[in-house]
Symmetry: C2
Subunit: 118 residues, 2 copies
């Protein structure tokens, strides 16, 4: 049986989680979970992070509607990072872009490579 | 001009970096950089992390030959996470698997979904 307590959390009790679109394979965002958020994510199928700024559980999309439905959770070799394959409704980023990684560094300059979704 | 000092580093001066295969879009690993590692990665085109265990720069593949050639570095909306698109030679994982995320959680059990490369 998988036990969320078997993961390695940082000094704040958190583990980084990469959210990847399960169909397009696009990396959407990176956020954090504590052990309880891992448990809730697996139990509900709704990706649930720990908001470091608000210090509370953050059911992704709960207010925006831009939910992440969990397809599969994966653990890395060191057990200190998670990869969540998700079905993302709408934009993953709070800037309304599909992915948070919309800024590329090209020839030393920052270039915006993605526009907000309408 | 992009300035590595403009990124947000954690209390240890580090920023998480997701390495993604530029052609297959597979998420290969997650590791950490400090500002100098970001600079070196951009200057050399060889992905260079900061090893938290060895407390030294870690030019990925320097000893194993499993190098990561940088295709593009991207910054997220909060400037506290990087996405490195790479050309990965051989396995990215020290267990000799292509990706570090070779363990899936399915129906509450941990399942190995990837074998070591020969």
């Amino acid at each position: 049986m998988f036990d969320p307590a078997s993961l390695k959390y940082d000094a704040n009790g958190l583990i980084p989680v990469i959210a990847q679109d399960a169909s397009s394979s696009e990396v959407l965002m990176m956020a954090w979970m504590n052990a309880e958020a891992v448990t809730r994510t697996l139990q509900t199928g709704r990706v649930t992070y720990w908001s470091r700024s608000r210090k509370s559980f953050w059911i992704k999309g709960e207010s925006s509607g831009h939910v992440q439905e969990l397809v599969e959770l994966r653990v890395d070799c060191d057990r200190d990072c998670l990869l969540a394959l998700v079905r993302q409704t709408g934009p993953a980023c709070h800037t309304n872009r599909r992915s948070c990684f919309y800024t590329a560094i090209r020839e030393g300059e920052e270039i915006e490579i993605m526009r907000p979704m309408v």
